[in-house]
Amino acid sequence: MKYLAPTTIEGAVRLLSEASGSTRILAGGTDTIVQLNAEQIEPDLIVDIKRIGEIRGITNENGGFRIGAAVSCAEMTEHDGVRDLWPGCVEAAGLIGSTQVQGRATIAGNLCNGSPAADSVPAMVAAGAVVRIIGTDGSRDVAVEKIPVGPGKTSIGADEFVHSIFLPPRPERSGDAYLRFIPRTEMDIAVVGVGINLTMDASGVCTAARVALGAVAETVLLVEEAGDTLIGTHIDDAALDNLARAVSAACKPINDKRGTVEFRTRVAGVLAKRVAKIAAERARG
């Protein structure tokens, strides 16, 4: 195995395009190095992208924020601007692992790891976040929900890597939130995760809503029918009941030691109601 740490985007692209064997991108390392230590992966080349200055920071772009692929969750949760604009995304990123993990883990890595239970991914999908991917043919911008294609699998090519994730600007009277269910208070993997992002008009009627679910299917799901249950309503109890039904209907979870199919399906609906209430409160200001 070789370890290389290019200092430019071009340098990283060249390494990936010229690599003959298997490669892994190293950002925070909180999944990759675990897999290396356990010998679950044995790449021929590790490309550490943390020395590329361009992707180490958070930049304001057209009223939104571009989060570089090498930005740690701790840096993101400490950033006042991002916290004010996308509190749900920041809360989700802040749930990933311990303090020690927060200092290293990245939301780009959380996405690329491809776990259906990744905490930051439903929040980013609900936010309509866009991933910038760099490869031999240049860069492409892709909606976050197009990245996961199965457990541990993504649509990112072997010669590509994530440059940054863009959290877009948002209209007035918007709010987002993320909650997960875990059987303890910290340091656990979501049994169910729900991210909701919505906008209201001046009279308190919901005009747009995106609902994303984690850990209830092979990938994180964007559930358009669930978002539709909120649009045109004041997010009252009847709307919330419809939301819960639409969310539960979209669940296709597995049975495992952390939750049964029935439990996950029911809890997804319950959590969605709670998340919608928080998002609505934030939208009302």
């Binding site: 190095i33 311990s98 020690q100």
Partner: protein
């Protein structure tokens, strides 16, 4: 696997070492440098026994490659006392008997110091969440939390004094 030459600062001193590309910072610290204060509990980032400071962040050194610390600053438990003078956290861990077997203690001390450097007046809840990634299987958590709370108070008093 060709070894990589790395130059870094550890506890203020410059070190040069060779390591394999897949060797973790924890392995480098323990087996190449001889700093055995950082412990390996799980090697998967779950237990916090290998906590060190990498720049201004507390990290699990089992989830950092040795090669990554080129040009960086690492601070370990060995650098916490000032010569023969223990850090107030170390003194209070002893005073409050906040350790039983002691295996998790270096990690708790490094992580607790990172908290107090950032937040000199943490609540008990903040301490418990901050230290959630440090496991003590002797289950001495309560004494650890008391020791950190007491140290914070003591250090605030000194800062005022």
């Amino acid at each position: 696997m060709a070894n990589i030459q790395v130059s870094t600062k550890i506890n203020g001193d410059t070190y040069e070492f060779l390591c394999r590309p897949d060797e973790t910072l924890l392995e480098v610290l323990r087996d190449r440098i001889g700093l055995t204060g950082s412990k390996e509990g799980c090697a998967s980032g779950d237990c916090g026994a290998c906590s060190v400071m990498l720049g201004d962040r507390v990290v699990s050194s089992c989830l950092v490659l040795g090669a990554e610390v080129e040009g960086q600053e690492v601070n370990t438990i060995e650098g916490m006392a000032d010569g023969g003078n223990l850090h107030p956290l170390q003194r209070n861990f002893i005073k409050f008997a906040a350790l039983q077997c002691g295996f998790c203690t270096p990690g708790f001390l490094v992580a607790a110091k990172a908290l107090l450097d950032k937040n000199p007046d943490p609540t008990e809840t903040e301490i418990r969440y901050w230290l959630a990634g440090n496991l003590c299987r002797c289950t001495g958590y309560d004494k650890i939390v008391r020791a950190v709370l007491h140290t914070a108070e003591e250090m605030r008093g000194q800062a005022r004094g």
